[in-house]
């Protein structure tokens, strides 16, 4: 692997980072957190892409192109490189070699896990997956997140990879992003102009694409305090037991009014079954207000299956993924329910 030339800027405060972002925004800049995804994406390819000669188009004289992006994708989206708004240019710059990386590793304010006064959980964006996996707090009350952290990549990926990086990368299979949506996580996006809070479910706009503004940095994720009788669960389905990208990921959180019901809140998030992680809306309609039992969960799972929009790819077929969404949803509803009953 060899990385292209870029400069790395190392801000010492969030404000400095935001200023740097503003200063270099037009030259191609990426935020570097753990680097476990970004540096892989940036490496120079070994095999060129062959671009066939395109008659009558001066832009595509044909030949071989080495690029860190998938050139075919690039060529198939003429609007992406035809100018346009700053947003477009930046979305584009995410895919071509950036001139600058802004590394957040010195910013202590972006690290750490704490309980806020209102009981919600605040996790800094550059907190490593490992810290989350090891946190008793997280495991006790936001179990799905801990289970996501436990199963993400390998221990070495968890040691470097960060919560913010996993979410900002917006991969549909992201093992932190999916439970974050399931747990109704709120993203804190900071710009020089101030901060805004955005529900995690509204963040991704496509595979690898988000609605983050060019001059914003994701600084933290806030997970609302679970009410009494709440439980959550995440399952990563894959082919081997570590070092995997999910074939399907399902996160369920469930709140009961009392140990035997009825269900007062439920959120089911699905990973790797659409261009972004999906919040399965139909779960609510079926489950809310109902007394939990197996037939109910079965019915809900059938509905959740319809919310998934999987495709066939080398990690799994749409058919298998749909089946697994249903199967895992039913299983995880049961697990979340058992956990909810215990969590007074």
């Amino acid at each position: 692997m060899i990385l292209p030339r870029f400069d790395v800027l190392v801000p010492e405060s969030l404000e400095e980072a935001l200023e740097m972002l503003g200063e270099h925004a037009d030259k191609g800049v990426r935020i570097l957190a753990g680097g476990t995804d970004l540096l892989v994406d940036l490496r120079r390819p070994i095999i060129p892409v062959h671009v066939p000669r395109c008659d009558g188009c001066a832009k595509h004289p044909g030949g071989m192109v080495y690029s860190t992006i998938d050139c075919e994708l690039w060529l198939s989206e003429p609007t992406a490189h035809a100018g346009g708004s700053l947003r477009n240019a930046l979305q584009d710059s995410r895919r071509i070699s950036p001139q600058y990386l802004i590394s957040l590793h010195l910013l202590r304010e972006l690290k750490g896990i704490k309980r806020l006064d209102n009981g919600s959980l605040y996790i800094g964006a550059t907190t490593t997956i490992r810290e989350i996996a090891h946190s008793e707090k997280v495991r006790r009350c936001w179990t799905a997140l801990a289970e996501g952290a436990d199963n993400l990549g390998s221990p070495l990926v968890r040691n470097r990879g960060t919560l913010g990086g996993n979410i900002a990368n917006a991969r549909p299979a992201a093992d932190m992003f999916v439970p974050t949506i399931g747990l109704n996580g709120i993203l804190k996006l900071q710009s020089l102009g101030g901060e805004r809070l955005l529900p995690a479910r509204d963040f991704a706009s496509g595979p690898g694409l988000t609605v983050i503004e060019p001059l914003e940095i994701l600084t933290a994720v806030i997970y609302p305090a679970p009410l009494s009788y709440s439980g959550s669960s995440y399952y990563k389905l894959a082919n081997r037991k570590a070092l995997e990208i999910s074939t399907v990921g399902v996160s369920v959180s469930l709140t009961l009014e009392a140990p035997d019901g009825p269900i007062t809140d439920v959120r089911v998030a699905l990973g790797a079954v659409g261009p972004t992680p999906i919040l399965a809306e139909s779960a609510k309609g079926i489950l809310l207000g109902e007394t939990p039992d197996e037939p109910l969960f079965k019915k809900a799972a059938q509905a959740i299956r319809k919310d998934a929009r999987p495709i066939d790819d080398h990690r799994g077929s749409a058919w298998y993924r749909s089946n697994m969404v249903q199967l895992l949803s039913e299983r995880l509803l049961k697990i979340a329910y058992i956990r909810a009953k215990r969590n007074k």
Binding site: I2, I46, I47, P48, P52, M64, L237, N239, A242, H314
Partner: protein, 794 residues
């Protein structure tokens, strides 16, 4: 069994300390002043005609020292099998897979080299691609090579015995299929090469290779340099498993760049290039029809196979023969027919990988045996025991098994895994998520013939006693690629000379030292081990003769043991020797004062008497095999065999499979080093398990590999692997040194089928396509639910 002082023990590998301290030098670790860095231009297209290559921009880039294409390299065809030389150093007329090598660059650093590569302009005319191996032979398909009609690069048609007679005798006849996917060896060290030419025109290449001798020959032939001017050195190698046995463009191009620049050049593969170069496991499409008599005796096997071998022949000719020949054992099978086709497609070339050619064929045959056992209502292990060969028998394709612990191995795993208890339970619990399965295997212990036609010795070993006395140096061309052959050679030498292991130095893996065909076909312990033993005995004889002369006793009354000369006929008066030794070493502190004659003194005095003491050993097998076409492939001086029991649990909803336990037994003849034998077995279990459950190269429609990395080409992690029980069976092979034969590859044979059989036990469904992913399993279970009548065990 004879009592040995060091053989059959568990001494640590001779390179262990270097490897735990980071001292061991692999090729990419080697530094040289002024070294240039090489890079390769790979084809972006799977099949295209090259219209023009323009390197002018690349040549003008500052820092670039050489750019080479077929114009500089020439187009001498080379390959592995002399009958199928179908590669050239660089593509000249066509590219045949995504990754095919078009040009190479040497520059002052990697950045510049890659930049230069990106400046080479190639005009292509795209051609239609052939990606499906099953359809590659059809009329009208695009052809990859002019020399391969219908894209068939080799075919085999064998008929031993009489299968029609076998059919008549059969009570049960069934036909089954199994398909696999191309696989990668996934050794941890990507290939790396350094080449340098000295002022006398001697080319030296350091390479992460398994076979210095074959590589030396290929370099000399393809680059048109006299053989004696080419030297191949193998530093520490981070695993090979087969693909590193054939010469790569990286090796050829790096040598060419060194010749052109007059500077040392290094080229190290990126992991993606390891996948592109491949030369790993073929894709197999097997169909087998097997018949058994009412009493379970095997009656016949009718076997068809298509091998998809990618763009070039590489080792594929041997592969297609092995795929058929190694079903000759370990069971008595009188009638066997085999029709095999090895086809070319626009994918990276496949070659040899652990269990060369035989793994998937073995998997299907062992699955068939289980299905037949079920139809007969017999225990699958009992069915196998009924049919296993014994030592002294010859297979229908004329392979003679001189030692054979098959029965013992099978009984060992049966008992150790508590098969009878678990299997009788599982008969009732079939399809309930837990299962147990068994299988056997059979493999060569060294190919009977070299790859090129020759009566060459397969290896020579030269052992020289230090002129100053005290220790010995063993020189061999053998290639320790991690399997531990250096340790085996050191242990054998130490045993023969009665020396501590630390006084035996092994230098190996250098084509200047000796001819050794290399680390392939599980040959080193038997062949180089035998040569090494003979070299040590030669040394011992010379020392003892010299000492006997000085002491005026018959040499046969002397022996070397525990670092000293032992007399079998009473006490020796060696005072004159000691006196002379002490006189020579005035001022030395560590002097011999034992009441016996030490090896240190004896070896020094022997030198004073006779000059340098050099022992030579060499090995070549006797003529082996039948006289039919292709009879040489599959021959071996000895055959290893193995048995295995796998236990699995399956999530019947998601299809996730957990291997809970693997118990394997392997007949290695005699374990030179017990720890290393177990290590080979356990490594085989892991590779086989990966191949059974998760490993597959995936191509897109344009022939590009989708998963050319270790995240998505999945090999088992420590969490996937269960506890591995390795049982050593020792049948005392008459043709092997001390009774030893192979373990490196044979141990993989039963792994895949034992898992497939266990998964069937757990789920009640059979899978005909590997790897057995959760998705394939769920699909099969769904299918079975739809058609209950087709279920094997309703």
């Amino acid at each position: 069994m004879k009592k040995y002082s060091i053989l059959n023990s568990r001494v640590p590998r001779v390179d262990a300390v270097d490897k735990v301290t980071g001292k061991a030098l692999y090729t990419d670790d080697i530094k040289m002043p002024g070294i240039l860095i090489g890079a390769i231009l790979h084809s972006p297209l799977a099949h295209a005609r090259i219209l023009n290559i323009d390197t002018s921009l690349a040549e003008r880039l500052p820092g670039v020292k050489a750019v080479v294409t077929h114009r500089e390299a020439g187009t001498t065809p080379y390959g592995v099998s002399p009958a199928r030389y179908d590669e050239t150093i660089f593509c000249h007329d066509k590219v045949r897979y995504v990754g095919d090598e078009i040009a190479a660059v040497a520059a002052i650093d990697l950045d510049t080299a890659l930049e230069a590569v990106s400046l080479i302009k190639v005009d292509f005319e795209e051609l239609p691609v052939v990606l499906d191996g099953r359809r590659a032979m059809e009329e009208g398909r695009p052809l990859l090579h002019d020399i391969y009609k219908n894209n068939i690069c080799a075919e085999v048609h064998w008929h031993f015995g009489d299968i029609e007679q076998g059919k008549k005798e059969s009570y049960i006849v069934r036909t089954d299929h199994l398909t696999s996917k191309m696989q990668d060896a996934a050794f941890l060290e990507p290939q790396s090469v350094i080449a340098e030419v000295d002022s006398h025109g001697n080319l030296t290449m350091w390479s992460s290779t398994q076979a210095p001798h074959y590589i030396q020959r290929t370099l000399a032939m393809a680059l048109n340099i006299p053989l004696h001017k080419v030297r191949v050195i193998k530093p520490a190698v981070g695993g090979g498993f087969g693909p590193k046995a054939s010469c790569s463009t990286a090796e050829l191009a790096t040598c060419l760049l060194a010749i052109k620049t007059g500077k040392p050049v290094k080229l190290t593969f990126d992991r993606e290039q390891v996948f592109l170069h491949s030369r790993a496991r073929h894709q197999f499409f097997h169909t087998m029809t097997t018949g058994v008599k009412k009493d379970g005796t095997l009656a016949f096997l009718d076997h068809q196979c298509i091998l998809d071998g990618g763009a070039y022949a590489s080792f594929g000719i041997a592969t297609i023969y092995y795929a058929g020949s190694l079903l000759g054992g370990p069971y008595r099978l009188k009638n066997m027919k085999y029709d095999g086709y090895r086809v070319v497609t626009n994918k990276p070339a496949c070659g040899a990988q652990r269990g060369h050619g035989a793994v998937i064929a073995r998997a299907l045959f062992e699955v068939q045996l289980d299905r037949i056992a079920e139809e007969l209502g017999t225990d699958p292990i009992e069915l196998r025991l009924k049919n296993v060969m014994e030592a002294g028998e010859t297979t229908c394709n004329e392979l003679f098994v001189s030692s054979f612990g098959m029965r013992e191995a099978l009984e060992a795993v049966r008992d150790s895994a508590a098969w009878k208890k678990k299997r009788s339970l599982s008969g009732k619990t079939r399809g309930q998520g837990r299962g147990i399965g068994a299988a056997c295997g059979f493999f060569v212990s060294g190919a009977g013939y070299p790859i090129y036609r020759s009566r060459t010795y397969h290896c020579t070993v030269v052992t020289k006693v230090d002129d100053v006395g005290g220790g010995v140096t063993v020189s061999s061309g053998a290639a320790d690629i991690g399997q531990g052959s250096d340790t085996v050679l050191a242990m054998i030498t130490a045993e023969e000379l009665g020396l501590p292991l630390d006084d035996v130095k092994v230098i190996s893996g250098d084509s200047n030292l000796s001819v050794d065909l290399g680390a392939y076909s599980s040959r080193t312990t038997l062949m180089t081990g035998a040569a090494c033993r003979d070299a040590a005995r030669d040394v011992k004889r010379q020392i003892l003769e010299a000492i006997a002369g000085v002491l005026c006793v018959p040499p046969e009354t002397l022996d070397l043991k525990d670092g000293k000369v032992e007399s079998l006929s009473g006490e020796l008066d060696f005072s004159k020797i000691r006196e002379e030794y002490l006189r020579e070493h005035k001022g030395f502190i560590d002097l011999p004062n034992e009441l016996c004659l030490t090896f240190r003194e004896a070896s020094r005095i022997a030198f004073l008497e006779r000059g340098s003491i050099v022992g030579v050993g060499m090995y070549r097998p006797p003529p082996l095999g039948g006289s039919f076409k292709g009879a040489t492939v599959g021959t071996s001086p000895a055959f290893g065999c193995s048995a295995q029991v796998a236990e699995v649990s399956v999530d019947l909803g998601t299809g996730e499979i957990t291997v809970e336990n693997i118990t394997g037994a392997h007949d290695c003849g005699f374990a030179i080093n017990r720890t290393q034998v177990e290590g080979q077995m356990q490594g085989s279990m892991m590779m086989g398990m990966g191949e059974a459950l998760m490993e597959q190269i995936i191509y897109d429609k344009k022939g590009r590999i989708v998963n050319a990395n270790l995240a998505e080409y999945k090999i088992p992690t420590a969490m996937d692997m269960p506890h591995l029980e390795a049982i050593i069976v020792e049948s005392n092979e008459p043709h092997g040194p001390y009774g030893a034969k192979e373990v490196g590859e044979g141990a993989i044979m039963p792994v895949i089928p034992s898992i497939l059989n266990a998964v069937y036990d757990a789920t009640g469904v059979r899978i005909e396509e590997l790897p057995l992913t959760p998705e394939r399993l769920v699909a099969a279970m769904e299918e079975a639910k739809k058609k209950p009548s087709l279920q094997e065990n309703p």
